[in-house]
């Protein structure tokens, strides 16, 4: 196995590596690598972006920007240990930057976004119990949480990310992430109790 191929084995998901008994090549085309990354991680990155932006177009724009950065720094790819964490961290920085710039823009102004996040038919029945008003109200209260707690809570909403990976993205320990999520949920629950919820 070539040296580059050997490095790829370390950081790339197994399903991204060439299957079958194809003779290992010493060089893998970077465009093929990025194509594989898009196929594997674009949805996860979109969800991370959407959790902050709450707007489909802006979330997709952020994901595109992430892959543009990957393209720009493609020579660094062989040195990345955990691609998922690396990509989510880039996405996180991109969306926080975008959010900071578009601070004045109201959130959830796109009615199509509501339709897109509405529960699909194959989801559990209890998911349908939450109304759009409740959903919007909870998101508003999440935005009022302290920054560290809010970031941990938003990343924990993305199923594809484990607590260890969230800790790596936020640059902290796993136990710290757990305590931040716990505090965030407790404060959110108190806010809901204090201010009520309407349906």
């Amino acid at each position: 196995m070539g040296s580059f191929q050997g490095q790829l084995t370390g950081w790339m998901a197994p399903d991204l590596l060439p299957a079958d008994n194809v003779a290992p090549t010493t060089t893998l085309d970077s465009s093929e690598t990025i194509t594989a990354l898009v196929a594997e991680y674009s949805t996860t990155l979109y969800r991370v972006a959407y959790s902050v932006m709450r707007n489909a177009a802006e979330a997709e724009d952020a994901v595109q920007e992430v892959f543009l950065r990957v393209l720009k720094h493609r020579e660094e790819l062989p040195g990345i240990r955990d691609l998922r964490v690396w990509l989510v961290r880039i996405t996180w920085n991109v969306v926080l930057d975008k959010k900071r710039r578009s601070k004045t823009r109201p959130e959830n102004d796109d009615i199509a976004d509501f339709a897109r996040v509405l529960p699909a038919n194959d989801r559990r029945a209890d998911e349908t119990l939450i109304s759009s008003q409740e959903y919007t109200r909870i998101l508003q209260l999440i935005d009022r949480l302290p920054r560290k707690e809010r970031e941990a809570l938003l990343l924990s909403a993305v199923d594809e990310l484990s607590t260890v990976q969230i800790a790596a993205v936020l640059g902290t320990t796993e136990s710290s992430v757990r305590s931040r999520i716990f505090r965030a949920r407790r404060e959110l629950s108190e806010l809901l109790e204090k201010e009520g919820i309407s349906r």
Binding site: A56, L154, D159, E193
Partner: protein, 160 residues
């Protein structure tokens, strides 16, 4: 009309779970991957079309720009100094494109009127009489200069 509902603590937790679940399971608009690839392809094409001149190191560009700026500043400063140079009285030597190698005969008389001397003393007050220079009695003396009388010119009546 909004209806306020009183939930228990567990129900609030359940609501939070449902909201987070919905937020974290948002699906992108179909065709996102194709749009990403299209944008990446556009970006690559744009980078290939970039002019070759910009492939030079930035340091070289910065150095060249700095040198040009310095030359412009020096040229402008010298030009400005020559333009505001005050004209001295007397014979004006050519200043413009002189190389400094001209002979004395190459001196030119100033085209502009020559200003009077700053000490209020007119020119050409010295006149020669029998080959000796004398000062005309009408010549203006500088103010404030006391000229004592010579004792040799006193008459004998004065001595008595």
């Amino acid at each position: 009309m909004k209806e306020s509902i009183d939930f228990t603590h567990e129900q609030y937790d359940q609501r939070i779970d449902l909201a987070l679940q919905r937020l974290g399971s948002a699906d992108p608009v179909p065709g996102m991957e194709e749009r990403i690839h299209a944008r990446l392809a556009r970006q690559e094409a744009a980078s290939f079309r970039a002019p070759r001149t910009f492939s030079l190191p930035r340091f070289a560009f910065a150095t060249m720009a700095g040198a040009v700026a310095c030359a412009a500043i020096i040229t402008g400063s010298v030009s400005h100094s020559r333009r505001i140079l005050p004209t001295a009285p007397g014979i004006q030597l050519p200043t413009g494109s002189s190389s400094g190698l001209g002979a004395a005969s190459a001196a030119h008389v100033a085209t502009r009127p020559v200003a009077p001397a700053p000490n209020e003393r007119p020119r050409s007050m010295r006149k020669t009489v029998n080959g000796r220079a004398v000062i005309s009695p009408e010549a203006q003396r500088p103010a404030g200069v006391a000229v004592p009388k010579s004792p040799a010119q006193q008459s004998p009546a004065d001595e008595q």
